[in-house]
Amino acid sequence: MDRKSLKSLWIVACIAALGLTAAAVSTEVEAKQRKELAIQDQPGYVPTPEEEMLPAQYRPQPVFFRTNEPPGTIVIHTDERFLYLVQDGGRAIRYGIGVGRDGFQWQGLVKISRKQEWPDWRPPPEMIQRQPYLPRFMAGGPGNPMGARALYLGDTVYRIHGTNQPRTIGYAVSSGCFRLVNRDVIDLYNRVPVGTKVVILQSAKL
């Protein structure tokens, strides 16, 4: 092998190595984005306005969105951590959300059966076991883990609701509900009526 061929081979190897590194970094970032957040509920905690300022990608924004669903439909992409409210003209309003942990994610087609301002909250029994001093029922209000608004999904136990933990947006943290920061869930609540179609999508994992 002459010097020229060796040089070409070296360049190809470098490009391949760079490609592999980039792929590894990309996968790592993706994994990080989708990992579960080890955080417990913080009943009574009231976030500051600064905490509610989400990273740019999770703030509500108009986006192009290809779908066969009619305007007014809510489409939830669990893996993307986004909720889309379908608009006219191939567009949607996109909101950043927190989703269910592994094993608590689901897919389906439901309708909003009820809307509630400042919903109540009941800590799960395992949480009471860890923190016996917690009220078994906490009336709705600032600091309630259910946040400012709740949209009940069909006859399931799941809801689209607010949160007092803005940093959980973008993560898999819940028991199957979908959470938005309070400002965003109030915005969504004001845009959708009872009876709104909700499509929950969950991509197959390899």
Binding site: P125, R136, F137, A139
Partner: protein, 170 residues
């Protein structure tokens, strides 16, 4: 960063002598009184929210209670109903070894023996040994007909948990 719930600190070694002194003082105090350790005119260390004078007989506290909380008066009635319903997973108040009862202080996973403390104007507080108006105290806002309503004196705990309502389980 969101503020984490305070965790229970482990006392460091250099605190042990101080704790021994406190324990001795506690034993001495226990010999003086059982349910009222108001400490006379000792000034509260935190502000006590306004409310009516309430008399609490500590002997009526041990047992099972439904526990719920609310923030606004409009939610009080339905919170009471929810507290009754919570008797399926009750909050248990035990009897202490020194005449007090075993209840949890804010954010503590283990109960502490607490006592009734009274202010000169007749307010009742439930808290650990020490002066009236410690941050770990809770002030009794109502105690009648098997319903006990308290508020934490610690502003952070009060903000996070609201008004605590206990309803005696049948």
């Amino acid at each position: 960063m969101p503020r984490a719930l305070p965790s229970r600190d482990v006392p460091s070694r250099h605190l042990v002598p101080s704790l021994s002194v406190l324990a001795a003082a506690a034993v001495w105090l226990a010999a003086c009184t059982t349910t009222d350790i108001a400490g006379g005119g000792a000034a509260p260390t935190v502000v006590i929210p306004p409310g009516p004078p309430v008399v609490v007989d500590i002997a009526l506290l041990p047992g099972k209670w439904g526990l719920a909380s609310y923030r606004e008066e409009k939610d009080r009635a339905r919170t009471e109903a929810e507290a009754k319903r919570a008797c399926g997973n009750p909050y248990v108040i035990g009897s202490g070894s020194q005449g007090g009862v075993l209840m949890h202080l804010p954010d503590q996973s283990q109960p502490t023996e607490v006592f009734i403390k009274t202010t000169p104007d007749g307010r009742s507080l439930i808290g650990p040994r020490g002066p009236v108006g410690m941050p770990q105290d809770r002030v009794v806002m109502y105690f009648q007909g098997g319903v006990l309503i308290t508020e934490w004196l610690d502003p952070s705990a009060r903000e996070r948990y609201g008004t605590m309502m206990l309803v005696r389980c049948a």
